[in-house]
């Protein structure tokens, strides 16, 4: 489990708290999946799901922002599932997250956790990530290299 991973959105921090509460181990953006290459084989687009639950073998992507960004996420998710069919990933939309808050009696916090209000100020993200190539026997993909944003392909969102 990461310590202080500096979540990109308040909803991610809330989900981490829920997972912590129920003793479910999680990692924040540990895997980057290349999903588009140019004609020279250089990665031009990749996808880093927000959470990986190692004991459950499940990735979770939260998307609580505006509809245009949801459409982009859906497209990326479709590519990921086509390229890495053994990777298990669940996409939580704003309505799903709101339903979670309702379930746990936290709907009053929805305004501060969902949408633009839940975003922290822009920052430079420098976390090391493991770039994962097309799926190998494990289904998760074989690590190609450890990379920082700016090396080995564009930073994933």
């Amino acid at each position: 489990m990461n310590e202080d991973p500096r979540f990109a959105h308040a909803s991610e921090a809330e989900l981490a708290r829920i997972l912590d509460y129920y003793k479910v181990a999680w990692q924040y953006e540990p895997h980057v999946f290349p999903i588009r290459w140019n004609s020279e084989g250089v990665v031009v687009e990749s996808f880093a799901p927000d959470f990986y639950l190692p004991e459950l073998g499940l990735h979770i992507e939260l998307t609580t922002l505006k509809q245009s960004l949801v459409r982009k996420k859906n497209r990326k998710l479709r590519h990921l599932r086509e390229l890495y069919p053994m990777v298990r990933i669940k996409l939580f939309y704003a309505r799903d997250f709101r339903a979670l808050l309702l379930k746990y009696g936290r709907l009053d916090a929805a305004a501060s956790l969902i949408g633009v209000d839940g975003q922290p100020p822009p920052r430079r993200r420098e976390a090391a990530v493991v770039v994962v190539g097309p799926s190998g026997p494990s289904g998760v993909g074989e690590p190609l290299e450890s990379s920082l944003p700016g090396r080995g392909g564009p930073a994933a969102d």
Partner: protein, 185 residues
Amino acid sequence: MPASPLEKDVAEILIDEVTLQAKVTELGARISVDYEGRRVTLVSVLKGALPFMADLMRSISLPVRIDLMEVSSYGGATETSGQVRILKDLSSAIEGEDVIIVEDIIDTGLTLHYVTEHLRGKDPASLAICTLLDKPARRLVDIDIAYRGFEIPDRFVIGYGLDYGEIYRNLPYIGVLRPEVYGGE
């Protein structure tokens, strides 16, 4: 009998009382066949599964023990930190017993995952899960459900033990709560 004042908060009845009871009887009959010649221990997690377990146990034609647990919930009172804990553990040992966890609804699976692991540690002879309602839309933990009453859509349901703010448990059916009641859309 006059209409319940609670019913004004019900947008629709998802599963009526007759259908509910028929399903409970069916589940009880299946358990009776599967565990023939044995004794089963039904374990319910307070409070939502109480009505279901009370009816289910009476549909089982075997020796039955019952036991209750209570588990803390994220968001309950001021619980947004710390970890889940057992507020009330089982009253009797289950080592060597055939245990069935009786749930009202399985949603994310997080609570049931914790309860299952806790009970496995007590060395039952077998451990199975019986749920009245299965709502898989936001399932995070894969749960092997041996007995499932109904798979339901992604709606906020109340009644027959399920609550909103500790109210509505006493409705005899499964209903959908009006969004205006909880500030939903």
